[in-house]
Amino acid sequence: MNHIKSKLRNKIQGITIQVKLITVFTLTSLIIMIVNIFMYFNINIMVNQLEQVYISNIKLNELSDTLGDVQAGMTDYLNTKTSDSIEDYYRYEQNYATLVNSLNGNVTSNPLGMMERNIKEMSQKYLTITNQAIEAKRGRNVEKYKLRYENAVELYDYINMYIYSLNNELFRNNSSNYEALSKSLQYLETISTVIMFMIALSSLVLITIVTKTITNPLKVLASKANQVAKGNFEVELVKVTTKDEVGVVSTAFNKMVISIQEYIRKLKDGMDKEREMEENELLIETHLKDAQLKYLQAQINPHFLFNTLNAGAQLAMMESADKTYEYVQHVADFFRYNVRKNNGTVTLKEEIELVDNYIYILNVRFSGKINFTKNIDERYLKIHTPSMILQPIIENSVNYGISNIDWPGLIELSVYEKSDKVCISIKDNGIGMSQELINEVMNSKLKTADLSKDSNGVGLDNVIARLHLFYEYEDVFNIISEGTNKGTEVLIYIPFMKGEYEDV
């Protein structure tokens, strides 16, 4: 039972709009057509009845006319005895006999039927008498044909009167019949009008209902689509109640919404994963750096180193070895600076002192091979810079610029003002740099592994990165070299507010 029910429901849901509309229109038109056919059928019957009503009168009139013709024919013949009149007589007699035979001769309780029967009987008798009269006339039996003629006239009168009476009675009956019929027709008219009106009304209701089932889902679908168009992808799905064309569109729309939601979700997932991976990579790098630092720190305790060096310096002083004392003292200063100022900001003056210490140490190491000159505008010594900026650059110039040249190496450090910025220039006359190399350095493409053994661990890329971060200014660092063996100049532009750092 349930199975059949669900099957039926499926079938109903599967009806397409086209079929629905066609069904409704066919149904209503069919009913209207049936009603119409019935009405026309009834009207036809009634019209036939109306015709029947008067056909009896018409028949009787014909009978009466023919009877007159017969009588006239006979009289004419009896008068003139012409062959024309006898011909007429026989023709009319034949007609009349046929008509009379078609009359009903049964005995029934219908008074009109009895009149018909009497007419038939009398007419037959009348025809016998007229024939006898004609015969007698032919035989010139004057007595007889006169008598027959009189009989015939008498009978003729009776028959005529009978026909007339019957006609009258029939007409009276027929008039009432006609009244009844016309009443029926009126009823028919009223009823058909009512039926047509009611059917039109109910079919209107039916069509309204059906079109509503078509347009309502469309409206819902349109509003949902508008929501999607406004960017709300999380709309509730359209309820699909039918399997018609609208149902198909709704289903497709639902599929689309689901796919969009799915796609957005996937996209979000992908982005999350990527970010996570980047974070991981960064963490790994930081951890590595941290490890490197920890490793370095673990190797040398700076305080131990200072104390050791200080002890060395005091020993040298006690032994009156002034030069040794001075050297050890510079080395101690150099390391102390590194330990103390590693993270904070320092003045330009401190940076330059560190460079002086470094150059001193190197000159001791390399027996005064490095010619270091300073050309410094004293006004800008109080400018703050990140620590450990200049020393790595100098170290770079010493290690790469002038270490392997045949001519005496020269390094010049100058501080001056240039177009509202303090310009720090480190210039050497070493082997110089190719443009590719410069680009690589500027873009921090040199690997950490390339750091030489003599480095204190701070590379150029680190310097550049820190300068960028500190000043948030792109052109803070520049390298100029005119080619191989033509020296290199490193320029640092530090922006400052006029009067801020000047001693004036």
Binding site: Q13, I31, F38, N42, L155, S184, Y187, I191, I209, T241
Partner: protein, 366 residues
Amino acid sequence: MRKINNKEKYTSTKPKSRKALVISYICATTFMLVLTIGCLIYFNKLTTTNEIKLMGEKYKTYTHYYVMITDDRKSSFWQSVYEGAKAEALKENSYIEMLGNNLSEEYSSEDLMQIAIDSGVDGIILEANESSEMSALINKANSAGIPVITALGDNKASTRKSFVGVNSYNLGMAYGEQVCEIEDLTSNITSDSAGTTVMVLMNANADDTSQNIIFTGISDAIKNSANKSHIINLEAVAIGNNGAFAAEESIRDIFMNQENIPDIIICMNELNTTCVYQAVVDYNKVGKINIIGYYDSETICRAIERNVIYASISVNTKQLGMYCESALDEYKETGHVSEYFSADISLITSDNVSEYLGDANESHKE
């Protein structure tokens, strides 16, 4: 997980609205059908009632066709006779017609006889008279194989098969007795010695012996009455019934002649009774002229109730009709039939008129 959810959402339908739609659809359709069918049934009912009117009841077919021919077929007397005959005829599967009823022209009995003969009917019930013309017609019918039964009026010279009527002598005796009764009543009040004039209205055209027998009956009854002191003058007056309204005019003539107004008028048919009754009322002679009437039509009964008509003698008309019909049937079956049948007569006075009035009312209702 999410996908399954979607799917659930997707397949969830709204069965409520669907159901409502289907129901409304079915409702609209059935409404249309019911309306159409209902209207058609209603219409059919209307038209079938019309059709019955139109076609009339289905007519029955009969084996024999008889006609009844009378002078005064419209009178309730003869209508009643016809009813009696018809009821009997239906039993025998015969149809009887009051000839001339549906004809637009009024014919005399002789013409109607001729028509009946020419129409070849199976039998004729005829209110005959003793004229030779009628005898010839009856003979003609007989020779055409049509049996003729005379009713109430006879034609003894003809070859009629049977006569059904009342015993005329008994009828006359009944009239005579009523005359004597009236005489007894009036002589007690008035002592005028001029005698009582009794006028008997007779049919001028009928040289019918039955009238004479009635007259004899009346006079015999008066002679035989116990009180011989009464001087009663019996006077027969012929009333013509040939021309239209002849009877009425003749009766008026009697009243116009003031000197010769009778004390008692005896009428021997329904028409005369009614005419006399009306004349008595019109000429303000109520109480002065006593009427002894004939038949029990409603008018006559009412007149008896109001004491305008003293008494009326009624023939059992139904019985009369029945006898006529059975005589015809008997002749048709056996080829011979008794020559004479007598119908009962009864007297209506103010004492028993209520019974007849009741009957009349009932028959009117029918």
